[in-house]
């Protein structure tokens, strides 16, 4: 078993999201035809079925919808982080995103509190969008 943390699965759809993240930009997939916004990326638009989809800039603002604290390591790479938080963020654009809260502990926040994206470089190829209290 790997002692590394899992890395994003990058394919022809998700590549645009992770390339933008490496440049410090949060994006969501937007339909070129009907402007529906969604995440994670999909081959066609769930609203109008168009296959013309682009990664569009997101504001980086969202709200805390829920959170959990892992006391169990499902990957060895997370063992030293226990007990770590995972938060559910409702992006201003609509899509939901799971991430980690940095700069505060979720116990000190309330559901509905505003959050702001903050990028954390894991290595030269991977940068993760995390969130801190706004």
């Amino acid at each position: 078993m790997s002692t590394m943390k899992p890395r994003p699965h990058i394919d022809h759809i998700s590549r645009g999201f992770w390339e933008a993240a490496r440049e410090g930009r949060l994006t969501v997939q937007r339909c070129d035809d009907c402007a529906h916004q969604h995440y994670p990326g999909a081959p066609i638009c769930p609203n109008c079925l168009s296959d013309k989809q682009s990664w569009a800039p997101a504001s980086g603002r969202g709200t805390l919808l829920s959170w959990v604290r892992f006391h169990r390591a499902y990957w060895d790479g997370f063992r030293d982080d226990l007990p770590y938080n995972v938060i559910l963020v409702g992006l201003e654009e609509g899509p939901l995103m799971l991430s980690n809260l940095i700069g505060a502990e979720p116990e000190s926040l309330k559901i509905g509190d505003p959050l702001q994206v903050s990028f954390e470089a894991v290595d030269e190829t991977t940068t993760l969008p995390k969130f801190r209290p706004a």
Partner: protein, 376 residues
Amino acid sequence: MNAFHKLRDRIAVVGVGNTAYGNFPHTDDYGLGAEAFRRAIADCGLDKNKVDGLAVCRVPYYARMGEILGLAPRWTVQFPPHGRMSAMAIIEAAAALDAGLCDYAALIYANIGRSRRLNYGGEESPGVWDPFGFTSPGAAHALMFQRHRALYGTTTRQLAEVSVAFRHHAGLNPDAVMKQPITIEDHEAARPITEPLRLLDYCLINDGAVCLILTTKERARDLKQKPVLISGFGAREAYRQSSIANFDLNFWYDEVRDVAVQTYGMAGVGPQDVDALMCYDNFSPTVLFSLEGLGFCGQGESGAFVEGGTLRLGGRLPTNTDGGHLSCSYMQGWALNVEAVRQIRGQCGERQVKDAEVVQFVAATPCSRSIIYTPG
């Protein structure tokens, strides 16, 4: 009225069987499935060669299962190994029997997850959120419960009522894996897994298998047991947030409401008529969400509803009288449907609900389902 409501009381469960539940590394999925089938056949007294419909779930290969059982069906379905499939399979089989696609359907579920050391997360089930350390159905339910807590003030002590009631029932069930009684304090002191959920909010992982045999009401009369009729069912999926597996921001409330309207409407009964509830309990919060969706209480009121032993035998709504997934066996809804049948038949011994005539199964999941069983 939905067109499928014409299926009311047309299809019967005539045979049920289950293996012992536990840790059985000496056998495999097929061995467990075969044993459950043998017991279900013995239960109903049917000539096994008359079985011409086969549905399997979590059995690796339907054709090998059919070979082992010596069957040559004219209707076969394989369901993916997901927990939400039990009522889905029973409803599909009912429709197939009614359409004449088969005359006697055997539904077999087998799980060897304990001996194979499955843990339902991490590298076993890769997902888009792995880089953030998010994985496992338990964590998805923890996210939902945390939100329920924040929105409605539901407490972990109220959640404990679910685990405590089901453990009490398991103590009355010779087949149950976990029989040692627990208290609310035990629940509160248990090891956290994905906070706010603790060990006693999680289902067991054990080996075992279950089989149900279904046929039409007319054919059921020639068999050994008093038939148990499928009087109502309902279905609604929620796929919109499926990239977070096993999660819904609104606890599948609207979907379970819809399922309730379909199911009660078809059976001609309401929540007040339900003598016992068999509630899919992969994690304890699912029970709270189910109670709200079905209308046993309003949305956000399930915490108060379960306080004081509501779900225990003798309480207002005896639920998961076999101990459920939390304490009897992780048969992913299948054993709960068997328990519903046995309650209607009056075969539950110490855990029998007196005069049980309306027993309901429910699963609040991305594919929510409910079934109402009544005596034939």
